[in-house]
């Protein structure tokens, strides 16, 4: 009984922290930038649709191929990365810079609860920023007089959404960890996302397993339709192993971030 009451209070605390965090994250300049990125992705979808409609390429392309390319490049390697990088690194640093962290630390709640609440907020805002773009892109590319492909590939869309959520969790927790740990976390995050991950992707052997993107790409459903791009992605890990690894990485990053939050002294400068 006492345990269930404590769990209920824990969940309420997580939600309250998430609510406070959402307020801080959403009404920031980052949101404007992320919205702009979403518009760019939608713009690319519209370009894809124009190409499909007017047969502007020599070989006929199915909608699934254009959609798959859009997901693999613009959404996962661009939108998801920027969303999690901007919001993830800001989870703690925004409260440190805004000097509001004191209000949370002066409450009778364990610091891992604070981290969990913030992570929940990141997942919410990440989903709000990315998923509508994915669904709209699907509609843009698939809505036509022949609705068969639309219904046939709905399963693929569902899988894409699942993978995007997994990517949001893994990248979000990683950048959240950087934000809790380092002062200039966004620079380190940028170096990781666009330096390390890009560099390692072209290296043969085991090293590419030291990136989050490797596991995300391993479960990506569009591998059969991507051609050369698919080859660039290189050797894949077994999908089940990749999903388990992403979940374990998320747990590890979150636990480490909570530990840092617990042990680190945050100096709120005047």
């Amino acid at each position: 009984m006492a345990e269930s009451r404590s769990l209920k209070k824990g969940w309420r605390d997580v939600r309250t922290i998430a609510y406070l965090t959402l307020d801080t994250l959403f009404w920031s300049k980052k949101t404007l930038f992320v919205m702009l990125l979403s518009v760019v992705v939608l713009g690319l979808a519209i370009v894809g649709r124009v190409v499909l409609t007017f047969n502007l390429v020599p070989t006929a392309l199915p909608s699934s191929q254009v959609f798959g390319t859009l997901m693999a490049t613009a959404v996962i390697r661009f939108l998801v990365l920027f969303v999690t990088l901007f919001y993830g690194t800001a989870l703690i640093s925004e409260e440190v810079e805004g000097k509001t962290l004191t209000y949370l630390f002066m409450r009778p709640i364990p610091k891992p609860t604070i981290m969990l609440g913030k992570f929940l907020a990141l997942t919410w805002i990440g989903s709000i920023m990315v998923l509508p773009t994915v669904i709209l892109s699907y509609l843009i590319l698939y809505l036509r007089s022949d609705m068969n492909p639309f219904f046939q590939d709905l399963g693929l869309l569902g899988r894409d959404i699942g993978i995007i959520l997994l990517a949001l969790l893994a990248y979000g927790s990683f950048f959240g960890l950087l934000g809790a740990w380092l002062k200039h976390s966004i620079l380190v995050g940028l170096a990781y996302a666009f330096g390390w991950e890009g560099f390692v992707a072209v290296l043969p052997g085991f090293t590419r397993k030291l990136t989050i993107t490797h596991y995300v790409q391993s479960i990506f459903p569009h591998q059969d339709t991507l051609g050369a791009l698919s080859m660039l992605m290189g050797e894949r890990t077994d999908p089940v192993e990749a999903i388990v690894t992403l979940v374990l990485l998320t747990t590890f990053f979150l636990a480490t971030a909570s530990l840092i939050l617990r042990e680190k002294e945050y100096v709120l400068e005047q």
Binding site: L20, Y103, L104, E265, L268
Partner: protein, 298 residues
């Protein structure tokens, strides 16, 4: 306990214990008051020694925050929330049910006289209102220990008076209230028990009157910004408590030196009314307090 950052010692070998009542933490800016308050509230971990509250170590002991309220010095908020939303969100983290949260929000807002502005966004609050809402979040869960870091900073005279009365009342009710300021008058109005800090050390502990005697030997400087500084300066000529008057280059204020600040403050409102001068700001720089610290250090 001590606290240092690299080579810099912020709090140096301090030992004290506090019980019920109000205790004033007095010292100039940079004396280490805020660091000490952060150590007392477990935001910082001592480099040496320990801070205990109710016999338990405070660092990472979140359960203690059911019994502790803290009003930070920093003027920072979740700006887009209303005062009532802000309090409700923080109270929810104390485990109260919705109904209890609502009751406590109303009571806290009433105590700090912010009820009319409860649904206004904090971003639209005046400096004084922001100070009040900060106080409200510290007291809303009815803690036994209240730690208030410069609670009167930026408040108007009426607000100051109200907060001072509240602090005194909480002390009378048997709460332990630790309140910091760099202005002796403020502390003196709230308590006669002080802890005098300078350069991270406690210089003196005890009755404020002994400090007051020391301070009165040094001129007390008071900065006044008003609608007619020259007219006010002329009026000061007849003040036996005024030692000197200096005009500010901007032309909108003056600094007065007085050896009897209490008498000066007592006469000032009447003088302003008689000469129809509008008071915009009155502050007391801690130069004179600094002089006392030098005197004590010698």
């Amino acid at each position: 306990m001590s606290k240092w950052y690299g080579q810099v010692i912020a709090v140096n070998n301090i030992t004290f214990s506090i019980g019920e009542g109000v205790i004033g933490l007095l010292g100039p800016n940079g004396a280490g008051k805020s660091t000490l308050m952060k150590l007392l509230t477990g935001q910082l971990r001592p480099s040496q020694g320990e801070v205990t509250m109710f016999g338990e170590r405070i660092w990472n002991n979140y359960e203690l925050f059911h019994r502790i309220g803290f009003c930070p010095e920093l003027d920072s908020f979740y700006e887009r929330m209303s005062g009532a939303e802000f309090l409700a969100a923080l109270l929810q983290m104390h485990g109260y049910e919705e109904e209890e949260v609502a009751k406590r929000v109303d009571a806290a807002l009433e105590t700090v006289k912010l009820t009319p502005a409860r649904d206004k966004k904090i971003a639209a609050y005046s400096k004084g209102m922001r100070q009040r809402i900060k106080m409200a979040q510290a007291i809303a869960h009815d803690p036994q220990v209240l730690i208030l870091d410069e609670p009167l900073a930026g408040m108007d005279p009426v607000g100051r008076h109200e907060i001072i009365q509240m602090v005194r009342q909480w002390g009378r009710e048997g709460k332990c209230v630790i309140v910091s300021s760099h202005i002796l008058h403020e502390i003196e109005a709230m308590t006669s028990t002080i802890l005098l800090m300078h350069n991270g050390q406690v210089l003196a502990e005890g009755d404020v009157h002994q400090i007051r005697d020391l301070i009165d030997k040094h001129p007390h400087s008071i900065y006044i910004r008003c609608s007619a500084p020259r007219k006010l300066a002329e009026a000061f000529v007849g003040f036996p408590d005024v030692e000197s008057v200096k005009f500010h280059p901007e032309g909108d204020g003056l600094t007065v030196e007085s050896r009897k600040p209490d008498d000066f403050y007592g006469r000032l409102p009447e003088l302003m009314l008689d000469h129809e001068i509008e008071l915009e700001e009155i502050t007391s720089p801690d130069d004179n307090l600094q002089a006392v610290f030098h005197y004590l250090v010698k």
